[in-house]
């Protein structure tokens, strides 16, 4: 069953009651919320994701609720909690949905230490994965969104999840969070993309969420082998360059960008070494999305050859 098999009423009752069980790649979540405004958007954007029955054990139990007390009437807020604990200050109620999405990412980043977690977008074509490790603002999500709406499969916009047993990348095709100017870039690039409303003046600026293509969500249990690292950097007006990067430099960028490299110590060192050894590594600078996409398509075809 998928979330879309539920009626809107059933969806809302689960959220407000015993919790909505939803599967994101390797993680099972149970989400509860008493915020009606939030439910409508969640129903639209989570529609193709697998629905979990009440019997399935959840990795994370998260809540997004209005805090009790007078404040809920005077100046409504939304509070994210995991296992009854609220790690963040309350959000204005209008930002409940992005706050939930950030909160779920936080749960993964701080708890899933059975996997090496790279801060990277990951896409796949013909069984070969391309990773885009990058700092915030470097154009990773924009590039990733454009690629997955042009024939590539999304593994993740945020997490390169590496399975220590075999170095395979596990998909986590959650919603893609676009920020500021990149929202309009994608709205123009793919008008048919399913994008939620723009949330203004959040803690990360203006944010909107893109629902990944259904095929990526359906194939969320299908790992991919890493084939290539591309370190993107969007710079307004910059000429396009795609240059080979020394492996020692790639190693440092991947390791320092990982969420839990220090936690996994020797396992992480071995995994990153193996990945960098088996992957081609490139530095990409771009200002024109079409130009970057064409170059990455060509790069991908060279793998097949």
């Amino acid at each position: 069953m998928i979330i879309g098999d539920l009626s809107r009423q059933e969806f809302q009752e689960l959220l407000a009651g015993k919790g909505l069980g939803i599967q994101f790649g390797p993680f099972n979540l149970r989400i509860r919320s008493n915020l009606k405004s939030f439910a409508a958007l969640a129903y639209q954007l989570y529609e193709p994701y697998p629905l979990l029955t009440a019997a399935v054990i959840s990795d994370f139990h998260v809540d997004m609720n209005s805090p009790p007390g007078l404040r809920r009437w005077l100046r409504p807020q939304a509070c994210f909690a995991i296992d009854g604990h609220s790690p963040f200050a309350p959000y204005t109620v209008e930002h409940a949905f992005p706050a939930l999405e950030w909160g779920i990412n936080w749960c993964v980043a701080t708890r899933a230490h059975h996997l090496l977690m790279l801060h990277s977008a990951v896409v796949e074509r013909n069984g070969q994965a391309m990773l885009f490790p990058a700092w915030p603002g470097h154009g990773k999500s924009t590039l990733c969104t454009a690629l997955v709406h042009s024939g590539w499969r999304l593994l993740s916009d945020e997490f390169g999840l590496v399975r220590p047993e075999d170095g395979m990348l596990l998909p986590l095709p959650r919603l893609i969070s676009l920020k500021n100017d990149s929202i309009d870039v994608i709205r123009h690039f793919r008008p048919e993309a399913i994008i939620g409303p723009s949330f203004q003046e959040t803690r990360k600026g203006t944010v909107a969420h893109v629902r990944p293509p259904v095929d990526s969500i359906k194939r969320a249990q299908e790992p991919a082998r890493p084939r290539c690292f591309v370190f993107p950097r969007w710079i307004a007006g910059a000429p396009f360059t795609l240059e080979a990067m020394p492996k020692s430099q790639a190693f440092l960028m991947v390791a320092t960008n990982a969420f839990n490299y220090e936690v996994l110590d020797e396992i992480a060192f071995r995994l990153v070494i193996d990945m960098v050894n088996s992957c081609d590594c490139y530095s990409l600078r771009y200002s024109n999305l079409d130009e970057a996409m064409a170059a990455l398509d060509e790069l991908s075809r060279s793998f097949d050859a």
């Binding site: 020394p246 020692s248 220090e262 020797e266 060192f269 071995r270 070494i273």
Partner: protein, 96 residues
């Protein structure tokens, strides 16, 4: 004065002129140039006098005797000591 390896188990990866070393005792990853890496490699084989390490490193670098500058050698060994990868010991202690 003797130099000894203190890093216990080390994992190595060499790419071009860069050497990555994972130090299991501290869970730290280090990046070294060739000179520093060779000094560490030398001491992994056992304790050596400072002069022996320098001479061994010069041979490994394909440099003439005395070509490796004392400043560069001293900087590299002090850096390795700071990281807990090597130790300076009196000769009597090192040979016990």
């Amino acid at each position: 004065m003797m130099l000894v390896s203190a890093g216990r188990r080390l994992l190595w990866q060499e790419w071009d002129d860069h050497f990555l070393v994972f130090q299991a005792s501290s869970a730290e990853t280090h990046v070294f140039n060739e000179t520093t890496a060779l000094i560490l490699r030398c001491l992994e084989e056992g304790p050596r006098s400072v002069a022996e390490v320098k001479a061994w490193t010069e041979v490994a670098l394909d440099a003439a005797p005395g070509e490796l500058g004392a400043d560069e050698f001293d900087f590299a060994t002090r850096r390795l000591e700071e990281l807990g990868l090597i130790e300076y010991l009196d000769e009597t202690v090192a040979t016990q």
